[in-house]
Symmetry: D2
Amino acid sequence: MTTLTEEILAFNKDRGWTSGNRDARNLAISVSLEASELLEHFQWLSGEQAVEKNREGIMEEAADVYIYLLQLADVAGFDLEEAARAKIHKNALKYPVPVGEPK
Amino acid sequence: MTTLTEEILAFNKDRGWTSGNRDARNLAISVSLEASELLEHFQWLSGEQAVEKNREGIMEEAADVYIYLLQLADVAGFDLEEAARAKIHKNALKYPVPVGEPK
Amino acid sequence: MTTLTEEILAFNKDRGWTSGNRDARNLAISVSLEASELLEHFQWLSGEQAVEKNREGIMEEAADVYIYLLQLADVAGFDLEEAARAKIHKNALKYPVPVGEPK
Amino acid sequence: MTTLTEEILAFNKDRGWTSGNRDARNLAISVSLEASELLEHFQWLSGEQAVEKNREGIMEEAADVYIYLLQLADVAGFDLEEAARAKIHKNALKYPVPVGEPK
């Protein structure tokens, strides 16, 4: 099966979008801009209201953030899934599970 | 195998982080803030310089964006991977492959 | 003369926009969203290209950032101009002027 | 009296910061990053809680957004105050004051 990253790269290549989309700084800017478009759905609404009113739009903007993130990972030479697992592991050491009374 | 989302949810649950982390608006804010921390690595450097100088930091911030994005998808009730495939499909209709001379 | 803040508050009051616009968290979100709309003009262009191509749009988005910033300062109870002078003073202590050969 | 923009430019000049700080794209990135640092104070708190807990930090980050915004306006060749007044005027035409019963 084709990975999502492979699909995105093929998509860009088919359209000749091979220069600006391979610059990590441009991609980091784009991740941030798409994250703002995602947040825009929540500008004047509560979380629940926004999801109820526009789940479709939220899905699309979240997808855009993810698509740019995968391209950035590809350009910078790392695997996003692995990076996330490593970060969770690091967080687990930083924030140990509180030990309490047996429940 | 445990999905990344399941790992993140278990991580939060073990630490009793179950309120603010389940609010879609908080999560959208956090996606945007982590995207800015990612962009911060590129504030005064070119893409290549930033990746060379701090690939580790870039990986970690990209991971943080992804981790919050997965939580947002979970709270809003959609699958991030599917949303990305749907968005690529939509983009493909919006930007058709240019037809040219046979190569 | 009417200050800019007074003009903005009168503008909102005339339109009955007096609830969401008086919440500091909403205003901080809006500052960030408008800053992204400003940055959007530079997504795929150099600084010079963007200014040449769309100075008008850049002016408008910069104005929007400023307008929300003034409202946030008002809600949080400080003067933006004074805060900026204080910050420059603090930066001056943090980054002293390098002493060199007389020129 | 020295304007704030003049103070900032003198500050940069005294420190030899005259290249990256004169690029509009770098400045737009910096406006967005500082706006996120401002928003960070509100990540897990309500507006009132955040202002009560950290008004000083909010003031400083708001000042940083403003300082970069003034530099961007200077590089792009416009006056921020004038741009804001023009934008308010434009908004007034877009959102006319609702006409109602005499109060």
